[in-house]
Amino acid sequence: MSVRLLALIPVAVAISLALSAAVDAVALPLFLDTTGTILATALAGPVVGIAVGVLTSAVNTLRNPTFWPFVVVQVIVALYAGLAARAGLFRSLKTAVPTGLGLGVIASLTSTPISYFVFGCTTTGGIALTTALGRALGLPPLGACFFGSFVSDFGDKAVTFALVAAVLHALPRRTAARFPLALRAIGAT
């Protein structure tokens, strides 16, 4: 792996974790903890994205050990983003947002079994409460759990994809040209 990509990885992880301050300031129910993973993938491909995803989970785990089992979700995010980048789906908000919504579905499908089998759907307070709501509405246990994850993941991934698309378009060409996949991701090649 080139030195440039090695230098990108820690920065991308730090981006994912630092955005929580921005999210708190606007009081939106988002995590944006896959921003670095998706951005790194769009710049340099899924291998780099997976490295960023694994490290993001590892650092999150230092703060709260229950994040670790969800590293699988970060890996899936990186793979999905890799396909999206190769198809140039970051070229505008009109293509990026639906792609993000698609990832929201896949991410919650992936995290639900983990949440269910490891944590009994109590991953976070929010998920536990929406799961309880789902149960009250008559959904079966696994379905209620999915309902819990889906509600938070859907919007979060769409916003993340939109943000990454905005960043890619705002990058000066000279900088973007130094990353292997960036120009293709925005449909510029």
């Binding site: 030195v3 440039r4 920065v11 921005a22 300031a25 785990t61 229950t66 009994g120």
Partner: protein, 222 residues
Amino acid sequence: MSALHPFSLLAIAAALPAFAWILPAPTGGLATAGLALMLPLVPDPRWGVRVVRLALLTAAPFWLFLRLLHDGPTTVAIGGRITTMVASFVWLVAVLSPDRLVEAMVARGWSLAVAYVFAATLSAVPVLKARARRIVEAQRCRGLSPRGSVANRLRALRALALPLVLSALHEVDERTLALETRGLGAGVPRTPLAAPPDRPAERVARWALLLLCLAALIWRLA
């Protein structure tokens, strides 16, 4: 405890949750949870008590929500496992120093890339977090508030996030140049600077722990 080799500490912190899930619930989970909570108390009880308290505080909300969603026995079964995981990791973070781990990786001949990426991430996170807070404060002085329509708040989020991410990416350029000139891509094996000692007894113990986990897994599946 912190005199143990970093890989030994990692092995213990990984083995306890593994056993919690492999061994039959609820006794398995509760037993490993008990072990994980006693671990910090071993060398220095006063320091250990603080770690145990943090572990219990982190695990407590899960018990609450589990009780909300499940019946008694399931709550105890899952709760025990979660507590083990939480307690092991909280102990690991308290007892393991990152530079020893990095040096251990380098000494063992692990790729310098892996060691670098791990260490540099730990350094980069607090720096970028502080910068994010500064950007938020600067925008607050200009009237950013958590009120308003969702669309407005999304626009505000964009105004906060874009400068942070773009300046961070620009720095990647500078970092790349600095790392290259300091020999990171040299392709020569790096000299370890202060490798932590690895006693043969510890290495044997680590392998034994791994084999024990596998044996338990096979016994459980059979």
